[in-house]
Amino acid sequence: MLRVWAAGVALLALAFVASPARASGDFTCAPAWTLVHTQYTGCDSVALLGPGNDTRVNLHLLLIDLHGGRPAAPSPVIGGAAPFSWENFEDALSGKPGKTEDYTSEDVQPQSSEFATGEGTRCVSNAGGAAGFETALAAARRLPPDERVRLSDARKAMQPSCEASSGAVLPAVTVAVGPVKSSAGRAFAAYLQGAAAFYDGDFDTAAARFAGLRKAESDWLRQSARYMQGRVELNSAQVNAFDEYGAIVPAKVDAAALAAAESDFKAYLRDDPGGLYAASARGLLRRVYWLGGNQDKLAAEYVWQFTQIDPHARNLSDGDLAQEIDAKLLGASEAARVADPTLLAVIDLEKMRHDNAKDAAAALSLADLEAQRPRFAADPALFDYLLAAHALFVDGRPAEVVRLIAAEPPGERLGYLSFSRQLLRALALDRVGDGGARESLMRLFPVATAPFQRGALELALAMHDERRGDVERVFAAGSPVADEAVRGILLRHAAGPALLRQRAAAADGPRLEARWAVYILLYKELTRGDYAAFSRDLALLPTQAPPAAPAVDVSRAPAEPDLTVFAWSNPAGRYPCPDLRDIAARLARDPRAVEPRLCVGEFTRLEGFDNSPLDSPPPADELGGAPSRFPGGEFARMAIYKSIIADPAAPAADKAYALYRAIYCYAPSGHSDCGGPESPVSERKAWFETLKHRYASLPWAAQTTVYW
């Protein structure tokens, strides 16, 4: 869940709260805004290789490095600063992030079938097999024309489903090819019968038919039959290997058939390495190894994939490869058995996960990591990174990171390992208080052009400046921090009144940001007690309504603050209140005045500010989690009520209203919506009894019959 979707376009929405009551994340997946994640949530991957990343993300980042490329980039910057999920990552890298227009059937590959990609059924190949058969028929010179038509029709009529409940296709095929008499035609007919038997699950018949085609004249028939022999064995091996849930039970796999399949595929690849089915045979070998629980051979196949620069040879995209390795190998693998540095690094990073300092002892130990050093002999940069990651994420020794990783002059552009090394170093410099930390981040910006790299840097730089008490620098002219979500979080939680006022009037920033600055400034001045400033700053409100969101895609437009809330008044309410200007003026004269304070409570209650993100600072280790520069602390409606309940000078009617509101804060859940520390039931009961007895004559008492 629980993200720069779509290249950050949608993320603009995340920059600011859409309504006072909305959570800081506009997704069901709420990211934790930091680069240092030690546990896996599924929502907190970043472009820095680390334990909190989805294992598939770590693997995909390393695969991009290995394959020497980068995904198709529709724009210079893919990905924003928000930590992301695997799905967001793949969506962004797809090159068509967040694409919403309809796809038509023309977009779909001709060999597509009703089976999903990678579906575990032998029938998945029926459509592709039929197309190949047609091509081979057309190429067979000595085939009589009528037989060609007959064979073609028979193939087209073959629509197997590979389900026990459906009828067999072999009988119909046998009838259909009966009249085929020529020698060339008989070979094609035998192949069709083999294919039909295969799809029917009659593997003995299929094996016999395919075996008879070893010397067929058609090159296609010879190759296909050879390849099909392997598939027959493979399918026969797993016939009884599934439990009632459809999951494989390794002990039930037919080992002899599996060994035959392996030998068949290998023979095919040996004799015809560039053959029609080479990529498929290679892929099916992975299934052989997986079914046989042969982790070493399976890992070796993945390593072979790593070394293939040509994506066609791999037959799998990097994303699909990462997904498959994660599902088929990583979960079952013992680190001790894995020799490949890339796979081992992904496993090691996963083993560095831990929940807190206490649990760090259960994470991968430095000694265990050191023991792997020989296996990283070919990739010392990766091993040093793992040591450094261990120092930072597990041991909390940033100085060790600086010792392990030297500053490197930035090249033309950074792969993900190089980027991770330099970024981790900068984070460590920050943690040891090194004066060069900021500069080391700044140097990376020009070369951080791969997806999500720039966003990670912006997040790191923003956190650095925030923690140095210099949040103004993020908003200074020429600041590289452009991510609207990052800027929004800082305005919401870190900025003081002066910066908010400056952003509200700034001509160099986005107008939307200026409007949010006004919104945050006025809300905080009113709720944190700077009433005179509130009165003055009302002048910052725009005189005109903000421009309507563009019609093209309203759902993606950044959320607008509702600045009209500051025109609030409620003269006809059950607890009547004048407008905010009047309320603030009275509080400026007497901050303890009871009625206008209750009216501030009415404003926040009726305008939906309960549990506002503006009053919910992020955890201390996340962006926006440093002490706020806005004086006054978080607002809680409950604090007003408690103060008035305890005020002996408060007028009876106001006191009764404060009691009534305090009681209703807990309706109906028994959990307060009004902020501040929770009151025990005994206190809530006391409020109720006070209201019912001491203020029995007031309407608020009559309307209150229960407490929660």
Binding site: M1, L2, A10, A13, A18, R22, A23, G25, F27, T28, A30, P31, A32, W33, Y40, T41, G42, C43, E87, E90, D91, S94, G98, K99, T100, E101, Y103, T104, S105, D107, V108, A116, T117, G120, S161, E163, A164, S165, F242, E244, Y245, G246, A247, S317, G319, Q323, A327, G331, A332, S555, A559, N611, S616, P668, S669, G670, H671, S672, E678, S679
Partner: protein
Amino acid sequence: MRSRALALAAATWLGTSGAGFAATVDARDYDAFWLWAGVRPQPEMAKAKVLYVLQGEVVASSPPRLVAQGGATPALRRGELWLVYRVQTLAWTPLIYAQVAAHLRRWRAAGNPVVGVQIDFDARTRRLGAYAAFLADLKSRLPPDCKLGVTGLLDWSSQGDPAGLKALTGVVDELVLQTYQGRRTIPGYGAWLARLDRLGAPFRIGLVQGGEWTPPESLARDPDFRGYVVFLRNPTGPTEQTP
């Protein structure tokens, strides 16, 4: 992250309202489960009344495609079965609809008691309206006797746009609200759940095996509450993904 900011408040609440201590989710205490890719079936599933089995993921390639995630077609004869699809993008091709329909047809033809299709999509709350439109369309393509369900994080009930939510609850037959993110129980779930009275649709609560769970007092009284679904994890904790 807001949910964590609420954690302290929730902890206080749990501590003061006598709701008791958070209990660890033991699969033996439940009868509905998610079976996800890479998670091995467990003995606890033998008595399951409802199983939600991941079948595939609609990945955001161009064009988007359905990538199989499940094993072979099961052979279950008891309880209720839901086909679950993890969804990266709502831009489904005609082929994807056909493939989902074929899944459903094949599973039923094999005798499995399939009652519905569940969509697991990270809907942005601001886009719930668009999501609802997608779901309404999907529902119209499913056979009349096939239910449509969705998963959702707790935000929906407490932070979701009411108009969007209303559109959603009118379309789906069941919502399963997750109390966890990744493999962790979301701190402060109690506070979220306390506001469930806004939901107005049949719902279940999704728990994660080994996570924590203390039901809010009000839950049992909620007429829309249909019980729990436990997300199963492999005992040794390899890298399975969660909805």
